[in-house]
């Protein structure tokens, strides 16, 4: 089976270093991971996220249906608002993590990981019975671009009709962008302020609208030093923000309590949902291991699969790398509960050496008065 391409492949092929990711040919970097990473933390960067999955669920039972498949609760959600959630299997394992937006009382847009496009759509399909709704996979009909960083609002506002200043986090607005019908959500995967832009009615086979918007954003962002960013910077930015990556930090063998995602599990919501019995039991009995952040105190770079040690092996790194913002190695991993205390010393086995690290604040790793969407704009 051939690799898939996103709406912006032609740009990537000309300007980026292409790698295979989740069955797609995607850019890992354009100029380099570090300059792209720093552009987003300090100013603004642009990401093609058209490889992600997008499904629209529509019909009069849409709220009931969505609440049945996810652990979070959409019943209190106002129209044109979004939330982050997971969906679990009957054992409480995480099938995927998702962002979804209630467009109106009968339409929900669900956004999910590229690596799970087929799995998730089949999952949605298999749970339709008994609900008066229909679902359609619109991934190839809507282009998706993320613009992230403290200058994202100023840049995007240049070409969008929606009033972005008044769009709070996790809200979504209809907008024209260069005259094209679009949706703009104030969300992202970098820890920074920013937007995810959905350019509607943009078929993969005729992606001209997406290409025009992409190029225009690079143009108008030039005064802020905007950079096109690849998957490498996307990964290093989300790691610094302490955000899980499906397939690395969370999967069907991990439950949301272990993953420190208790806040998206609404055991008390009115409706039943897939995995509820298992999650109730896990919540009552407690978990044995939990996700933590680790910073290295010595030189070295922790990576996926490396062992975490105390006297012996206590866990495994699920995501790790070099943090450009902190200029040191940082990692996410799972350890027994008793190690989940900030400052606890651990060692990471890197090849044949043990490198000193400690459990740290990891959501995010950086100082929130200096970086990320909560900082005061200077």
């Amino acid at each position: 089976m051939g690799l898939k391409r996103s709406h912006l492949y032609e740009y990537h092929k000309e300007h980026g270093k292409i790698v295979e990711f989740a069955g797609f040919e995607m850019p890992v970097w354009f100029e380099g991971i570090i300059p792209e990473h720093n552009a987003v933390r300090n100013s603004v960067g642009l990401f093609d996220v058209s490889h992600m999955g997008r499904t629209i669920a529509e019909g009069k039972d849409v709220e009931k249906y969505v609440n049945y498949i996810i652990t979070n609760d959409v019943s209190a959600l106002e129209p044109m608002s979004g939330l982050y959630t997971v969906m679990c299997n009957s054992k409480g394992g995480i099938v995927d993590d998702l962002t979804l937006y209630k467009l109106d009382n009968e339409r929900v847009l669900i956004v999910y990981n590229a690596s799970n496009r087929e799995k998730d759509f089949n999952w949605f399909k298999n749970l339709l019975e008994g609900f008066d709704i229909s679902i359609s996979d619109v991934s190839d009909d809507i282009a998706m671009i993320a613009i992230q960083g403290p200058k994202a609002e100023k840049t995007l506002q240049e070409i969008a009709t929606a009033n972005l200043k008044d769009l709070p986090r996790f809200k979504i607005a209809e907008s024209k962008i260069l005259g094209y019908d679009s949706l703009i959500a104030r969300t992202g995967y970098t820890g920074e302020d920013g937007f995810e832009v959905f350019i509607l009615d943009t078929p993969l086979k005729n992606p001209i609208k997406a290409i025009e918007v992409w190029n225009m954003l690079l143009d108008v962002g030039a005064e802020y030093g905007i950079k096109a960013c690849g998957l490498g910077a996307r990964d290093s930015l989300r790691l610094e923000a302490g955000l899980s990556l499906y397939g690395n930090d969370i999967d069907e063998e991990i439950n949301p309590f272990e993953a420190k995602l208790r806040w998206v599990v609404k055991l008390k919501k009115a409706s039943n949902f897939v995995g509820k019995d298992a999650l109730l039991k896990i919540s009552f009995e407690g978990v044995k291991k939990t996700r933590v952040g680790i910073t290295l105190e010595e030189r070295g770079i922790p990576r996926h699969g490396y062992e975490i040690w105390d006297q012996g092996k206590i866990g495994v790194i699920t995501s790790g790398g070099y943090s450009p913002t902190l200029d040191r190695g940082i990692a996410l991993g799972y350890v027994p509960l008793e190690y989940d205390k900030i400052g606890t010393p651990v060692k990471i086995k890197i090849r044949d050496k043990f490198v000193k690290g400690k459990i740290c604040k990891s959501h995010p790793f950086y100082d929130e008065s200096e970086y990320g969407w909560k900082r005061e704009m200077k």
Binding site: K17, G32, I33, G232, R299, G300, I301, G321, Y322, P324
Partner: protein, 141 residues
């Protein structure tokens, strides 16, 4: 094939050095020691090198032993010794400036100096610049 040839032109492969298929270079010095580093191809593949793990001075190595690692943001690559011998010096400037390997892989980006045991035999097993260029072309297919 044409595309491959073009590709191998993008990489600097200096004369007078000896190369491994794993993209290390070895340079035989006048004092009978050997300088070792990674090739232009290796540094371009890794991109943005942020950490170099160096061996201890005095370590005895066989040829093809892992003597350290070069790490970029995205990937790790072992450094395999092209020759057998004793590590007599490491490039300590790489500790604070690993990017020297990107900037100048054949000179300021050298990694270790080795006192070889049987230089002639080891060099005979390595690739000359032309053979290394062919290796890059074949590898790209």
């Amino acid at each position: 094939m044409e595309e491959g040839n073009e590709m191998s032109q993008e990489y600097e492969i200096p004369e007078g050095l000896h190369y491994t298929k794993e993209h290390e270079w070895a340079k035989s010095l006048e004092d009978d020691t050997v300088l070792v580093g990674v090739t232009d191809y290796a540094q371009k593949q890794l991109h943005e090198i942020v950490y170099v793990e160096l061996p201890e001075i005095g370590r005895e190595v066989k040829s093809s032993d892992s003597i350290g690692a070069v790490e970029s943001v995205k990937a790790v690559s072992d450094i395999f010794s092209p020759v057998a011998g004793t590590v007599i010096e490491v490039n300590e400037t790489l500790i604070d400036s690993p990017e020297l390997i990107n900037e100048d892989p054949y000179k300021r980006g050298w990694i270790v100096r080795i006192k070889p045991k049987d230089l002639k035999a080891d060099l005979a097993k390595l690739l000359d610049p032309e053979a290394y260029r062919r290796h890059l072309v074949e590898q790209s297919h």
